[in-house]
C-alpha cells in the first residue's frame, strides 16, 4: 500500500457513552451521531489486504445468517436460531486481531464469531443442519458451535454461563504461564446474571488474562436495556466495582473495534490483567428467528441503526479510499456466495448421524 494512499487514521476507538438528556433519536443510537453513519474509520495500522479481508468476513457472516434464516423456514435448521445480522462489524473487529493460540468463548449468538474465527464454513453449516459432519457432530446445533482445535470453546445457551468457563480458561493460561488471551462474548442482558459479577470479581482479584467483550445491542430479547438497569445503556460505571479497565467502542465501525481490541489484546497479553470492552451495536433482526423483532422496538429505531449498517458503510469507505474497486467487491461478493452455496450443499449432502452416536461423547 502506497503511503500516500493512506486513509486518515482513526485516533481511537473509544467513544463516550450516552449522557442523560439526549434526544430520543440520539438515545436510540446509543449516543452516536447518526450522521456519522457513512464514515467508519480506516487505519494505517491495518494493511490493505486485511482491510478487504475483514469486509469479506463481514459479508460472509451476513450471507451465512441470511441463508440460515432461509433454511430455518425450510425446516433444515431447527431449534433456536439467533442471527448476528447487524453486529458483524463487532465480531470481525474483535476476533480478527486475535492470535491462533488465543481462546474464544461465546454465547448462543455464535455463528458470526465462529466464521470470524475462521471455523470451516461447511462444518458450521452442517452443524446448523444437525449433520454428522457438523463441528459438534450435529449434537450441538446453532447455539453450541465448538472447535476446540481452533480454541473456539462454544457456543453456550444459558445466559451468562459462559463467563466462568472463560475465566477458567484464562486461569489455566495464567497457571501454565502462557501469553494466551481469552476473549469472552456476552450481551447487555447477560450483565444481569450473577455469574457476570462473580466472574468479573474473580478475573479482577486474580488478575486473569481475559477480555470481557460485551456486545451491547440495546436489547436482551424483548427487553430494552433501560428497562432492566437503571443506567440503561450506559455501562461506564459498571467496572468501577472491579477496577477493570474499560473501553467503549462504536460496534458498527469495524476498524474502530479492531483497533480498540488490538490495543486491549496487547495489554492483556503483556500485563495479564483483564479488560472490559463494550461495543455499541444493534441487531437488525429479531432476537431469534421466531421473533419478528417489531413488538418491543420502533421501526424508526431499527431504521436509524440500519443507516449505519457496516455492510453498507464499510465497503463504501473502501471504495472511497481506493482500497478496493467495485469489481473487487463484486468478485468478493461472488466468492462469498459460492462459499455459502458450497456450505449448503455440503450440509445438505452430509449424512445424518447414526442413531448409535446419541450414546457417544457422554463420557470421555
Amino acid at each position: 500500500m502506497d503511503p500516500s494512499e493512506k486513509p486518515r487514521i482513526a485516533t481511537t476507538g473509544v467513544v463516550t457513552p450516552a449522557t442523560p438528556g439526549i434526544s430520543p433519536e440520539q438515545k436510540s443510537t446509543n449516543g452516536f451521531d447518526p450522521t456519522r453513519s457513512s464514515s467508519p474509520s480506516l487505519s494505517a495500522s491495518i494493511d490493505k489486504d486485511e482491510l478487504v479481508r475483514m469486509y469479506r468476513l463481514m459479508l460472509l457472516i451476513r450471507r451465512f445468517e441470511e441463508t440460515c434464516g432461509q433454511h430455518y423456514s425450510l425446516g433444515n435448521v431447527r431449534g433456536f436460531l439467533h442471527l448476528y445480522i447487524g453486529q458483524e462489524a463487532t465480531g470481525i473487529g474483535a476476533i480478527t486481531p486475535l492470535e491462533a493460540r488465543d481462546y474464544i468463548v461465546t454465547h448462543y449468538r455464535d455463528h458470526g464469531h465462529a466464521l470470524a474465527r475462521g471455523l470451516d464454513t461447511n462444518r458450521i453449516m452442517a452443524e446448523m443442519f444437525g449433520k454428522k459432519t457438523g463441528l459438534s457432530k450435529g449434537k450441538g446445533g446453532s447455539m453450541h458451535i465448538f472447535d476446540a482445535a481452533k480454541h473456539f470453546m462454544g457456543g453456550h445457551a444459558i445466559v451468562g454461563a459462559q463467563l466462568p468457563l472463560a475465566a477458567g480458561i484464562a486461569l489455566a493460561q495464567q497457571y501454565l504461564e502462557t501469553d494466551v488471551v481469552t476473549m469472552v462474548f456476552f450481551g447487555d442482558g447477560a450483565t444481569n446474571q450473577g455469574t457476570f459479577h462473580e466472574t468479573l470479581n474473580l478475573a479482577s482479584v486474580w488478575q486473569l488474562p481475559i477480555i470481557f467483550f460485551m456486545e451491547n445491542n440495546l436489547y436482551g430479547m424483548g427487553s430494552a436495556v433501560g428497562r432492566v438497569r437503571l443506567q440503561g445503556a450506559d455501562f461506564s460505571d459498571v467496572m468501577g466495582a472491579y477496577d477493570v479497565d474499560t473501553v467503549s467502542v462504536d460496534g458498527m465501525d469495524v476498524v474502530a473495534v479492531r483497533e480498540a481490541t488490538q490495543t486491549a489484546i496487547d495489554k492483556v497479553r503483556a500485563q495479564g490483567s483483564p479488560i472490559f470492552i463494550e461495543a455499541k451495536t444493534f441487531r437488525f433482526v429479531g432476537h431469534s428467528f421466531a421473533d419478528p423483532g417489531d413488538q418491543y422496538r420502533q421501526k424508526s429505531e431499527v431504521e436509524i441503526w440500519r443507516r449505519r449498517d457496516p455492510l453498507v458503510t464499510y465497503p463504501h469507505r473502501l471504495l472511497e479510499y481506493g482500497l478496493a474497486t467495485q469489481a473487487d467487491l463484486d468478485d468478493l461478493s461472488e466468492s462469498v456466495d459460492a462459499e455459502i452455496a458450497a456450505a449448503v450443499e455440503f450440509a445438505t449432502n452430509s449424512p445424518e448421524p447414526d442413531l448409535s452416536e446419541a450414546f457417544d461423547d457422554v463420557y470421555a
Binding site: G79, M143, M221
Partner: protein
C-alpha cells in the same frame, strides 16, 4: 363448555387470578412488552398494567427469590421462567429458600408462590434447554408440583396452585401448548395431589403425567388392537403423588408401566416405581416397568432426539415384558 388450548387455559387462569385477587401479580422475563416467550401473557401488560405484570431482568435467582419474599410478605406472585431449564440458576432460592422457609421458621412463614415454566424436550433445543427439573423439584419436601396434560386440568390445577399457601412448581410441557380440550364454563378446581384414571382398563396400569399421558393414550390404543385393555393414570401432580389411585389400579391389573418423558434416570417415576412395588408387591405379576427418555444429554439432531425421547413403542415394549400380546 368451550374447547380451548392449554395455552388459552393457562392464560385464562392467570387473567382470572389477577382480576379476582389483588395480591396476585406476575413476574418474569419478557412477559410484559414482549408478551411472553410462549405468548401466555400476550396483552396482559396493556390490560393489567405494570404493577401486576412485571418484566424482570435476566436474573432468575433474584426474581425467583423476590417472589419468595413477596409471598412471605403476603402477596401471591406467579413467577414465569422462560424454560424449566433455567430453574438451575435459581435452584438455591427454590430448594433452600422457598421449600425450607416454613420449616426453619417453625411455621411462621408461608410462601404462596407459583413458579410456571415450559418444560420438556423434543424441539431440538439441545442439552441445556430441554431438561425437566420439575422431577427433582417435586422431590423436595415443602414444594408441590403440578403437570397438566390437558386444558381442563391446566386450568383447574392452576387455580389450586395460585390459591395454595405453598410454593408450587407448575410445569407446562411445551409440546402441549396447542393441545385442545373442553373446559367447563362453571368454576372448578383440581386439588394438588389428585391423580385421575384417564382411561380405565383391566389388564395393565400405565402411569404418566403431562405429555406422557398422550404417549400412553397412543400406546393404549395400539395395545387395544392386540386385545390388551390398559388403564391410564394421569398423575396431574408430581407432588404429592397420588399413590392411592395408582396402588388401587395395580391391585386390579397386577401389572404396571410408569412413563417419564424426562430422562429415565432421575425422573419422578423412579420414585413411583420404588414406592409402588413396595406397597403393591403382593398384587404384582411382574416387575413395575419404568420407561423414560434415554440417559444421555439431549442432542440437537432431530433423529437422535426422537430416538432418545420416550415413545409409545417403548411403552408397548415394556408392557410386553410383563404381559404377552
Amino acid at each position: 363448555m368451550a374447547e380451548i388450548t392449554i395455552r388459552e387455559a393457562i392464560t385464562q387462569g392467570l387473567a382470572e387470578a389477577i382480576e379476582t385477587d389483588e395480591s396476585v401479580f406476575i413476574m418474569g422475563e419478557d412477559i410484559g412488552e414482549y408478551g411472553g416467550a410462549y405468548s401466555i401473557t400476550k396483552g396482559f401488560l396493556e390490560k393489567y398494567g405494570a404493577q401486576r405484570i412485571k418484566d424482570t431482568p435476566i436474573s432468575e435467582a433474584a426474581f425467583v427469590g423476590a417472589g419468595i419474599g413477596a409471598a412471605a410478605a403476603g402477596l401471591r406472585p406467579v413467577v414465569e421462567l422462560m424454560s424449566m431449564s433455567f430453574s438451575l440458576v435459581a435452584f438455591d432460592q427454590i430448594v433452600n429458600m422457598a421449600a425450607n422457609l416454613r420449616y426453619m421458621s417453625g411455621g411462621q412463614i408461608k410462601v404462596p408462590m407459583v413458579i410456571r415454566a415450559p418444560t420438556g424436550a423434543g424441539v431440538q433445543l439441545g442439552a441445556t434447554h430441554s431438561q425437566s427439573f420439575e422431577t427433582w423439584l417435586a422431590e423436595v419436601p415443602g414444594i408441590y408440583c403440578a403437570c397438566p396434560s390437558n386444558p381442563h386440568d391446566a386450568l383447574g390445577l392452576l387455580r389450586s396452585s395460585i390459591k395454595s399457601d405453598n410454593p408450587v412448581i407448575f410445569a407446562e410441557h411445551s409440546h402441549l401448548y396447542g393441545s385442545r380440550g373442553d373446559v367447563p364454563d362453571d368454576y372448578y378446581e383440581i386439588p394438588l395431589g389428585e391423580g385421575k384414571v384417564a382411561r380405565s382398563g383391566e389388564d395393565l396400569t400405565m402411569v404418566s403425567y403431562g405429555y406422557g399421558v398422550h404417549i400412553l393414550e397412543q400406546a393404549a390404543e395400539q395395545m387395544a388392537q392386540d386385545g390388551v385393555d390398559a388403564e391410564i393414570i394421569d398423575l396431574r401432580s408430581l407432588s404429592p403423588v397420588d399413590y392411592d389411585t395408582i396402588v388401587a389400579s395395580v391391585q386390579k391389573t397386577g401389572r404396571a408401566v410408569m412413563l417419564d418423558t424426562a430422562r429415565r434416570t432421575g425422573g419422578i417415576m423412579s420414585e413411583v416405581v420404588s414406592e409402588v412395588q413396595e406397597r403393591a408387591m403382593d398384587y404384582l405379576d411382574g416387575p413395575v416397568m419404568r420407561v423414560g427418555s434415554k440417559d444421555v444429554p439431549w442432542p440437537y439432531n432431530r433423529n437422535l432426539e426422537q430416538d432418545i425421547l420416550a415413545q409409545s413403542d417403548d411403552v408397548i415394549k415394556a408392557a410386553r415384558k410383563i404381559i404377552s400380546f
